[in-house]
Symmetry: C2
Subunit: 273 residues, 2 copies
């Protein structure tokens, strides 16, 4: 998974990759002849998209049908509903798809791929920021105001969002603009990938913590009567992790790794990545 | 991470491993010359043990000092306290250490290593079973009895424990006794490793879900006043994931992977693994 500093020889099935002469493509040192083996990739990717789509749909159904839909500061109670919807779209669905991009857009040029990866994750950041404002507003504008940042969900959430933001800025500066020297990029990539996955797991954990806390507060004793809303919230929680584990498999299964393309190699101009 | 079916060439620092002739050591195909690079391993392992130790200690302090200590069926309210303590020891600390065993006991013979791995995980299973009985008892023996399995924590927990049990039995049958043919073991190993990590993350998520639910139920409005017990419970939740992420790094960072030892190779007798 994080074996980015090694060369590999593999008997694969498809996509004979060119010899990799290192550089910024992930810290490969020395020479390698790597082959991609994409068996099972498409079906798993389809599963991820179906599960992710159903997940977002169920959160929308929950917030609209059970929680009264949306408002902004005129009604802090309804403003809150933006929080679970936007965080699910931003920090689960878009985050997962942003991570997957080096698998899904494997034939895109490296630089365009990086820009797309950064853009999708910026969209995740933007939607999540609005979602976080909605959560704070729903506390601060309530009558009387409610305290902030005392639950496990809020601690996990703030740490995750801060880490995600630092990771995005760090990724931009290191890999895209201005872009650091190739040996620094090579050393930073495994760190970027490790924390990318750690923060994604943290995001999913934050999400289910939020669901659990909300279910107890809003449903109270009804939760113990297996009411539909409680069952729906529990199912949403399981779907978040089903989505996450398919995404994690797709990005950690090395035969699915995008191998360097001929057009990535542009050592003279340094524009290759 | 799951690139077990490939040969690797690596410039390493230590532990020049012997040529791997495949078999049941993890599905390596063809030849490889692999080197272990253990820089940073000991310090990270120490961190994992310190964090794991503090975690168990804090759960003990919480259950004893804040929740009144332990009883069995004579007092279902206190019987419950075995649940967080035993689940933390079993499904977090022992589970994490069981996963780590192929890194920590890297010079042990392969067969002894497998038996130790299975034994530690059986201990995790046994302690967790008692912990789960304590949780059900605290509901069923309460006056009036409380419903079971309606919260997100309980759903995650039951799925995780069922998966963990199936994984243990599957691992025993496949790799240890009776032990299946070497090509089946080789094919099963990446599946065993993937689900081992997935279920470990699920266990950690179940644990923080339990903490979050318990904090709201027992502390109520006090939770919002940043009382010591609430802060302690939140800190326990963060430590669980700190422990998990160090363990996950240690087991997924490929240079830390135990390479086959000369004594593993015993193709004639088939006892090598």
């Amino acid at each position: 998974m994080y074996e980015l500093g090694s060369a590999r020889i593999r008997k694969g099935k498809k996509h004979v990759a060119q010899e990799d002469s290192g550089g910024g493509t992930g810290g490969q040192q020395g020479t390698s002849m790597s082959l991609e083996d994409l068996r099972g990739f498409r079906i798993l990717l389809t599963c991820a998209q179906v599960v992710g789509g159903i997940l977002v749909l169920l959160v929308a159904i929950w917030t609209i049908s059970y929680r009264g839909g949306f408002a902004w500061r005129s009604n802090p109670g309804l403003e809150f509903n933006w929080h679970p919807l936007l965080m699910t779209i931003g920090m689960i669905y878009l985050y997962g798809n942003g991570i997957l991009m080096y698998r899904t857009l494997r034939n895109m040029r490296k630089r365009s791929l990086k820009i797309t990866h950064a853009s999708v994750l910026f969209a995740a950041f933007a939607l999540s920021s609005i979602g976080i404002i909605a959560a704070f507003d729903s506390h601060n504008l309530a009558d009387p105001p409610k305290p902030n940042l005392y639950t496990l969900h809020s601690w996990f959430g703030i740490i995750t969002f801060t880490g995600f933001t630092l990771q995005w800025v760090g990724g931009l500066v290191t890999f895209l603009y201005p872009g650091l020297a190739s040996h620094i990029r090579a050393a930073a990539l495994p760190v970027h990938m490790y924390f990318g996955l750690v923060l994604f797991i943290m995001a999913c954990t934050s999400a289910v913590l939020g669901l659990a806390e909300k279910a107890i507060w809003t449903l109270g004793a009804q939760y113990a009567s297996y009411v539909n809303e409680g069952l729906l919230m529990n199912q949403i929680g399981l779907l978040i992790f089903l989505f996450a584990f398919i995404v994690i498999y797709l990005v950690t299964h090395l035969p699915y790794k995008r191998q360097p393309r001929p057009e990535d190699e542009n050592l003279l101009t340094g524009l290759s990545d």
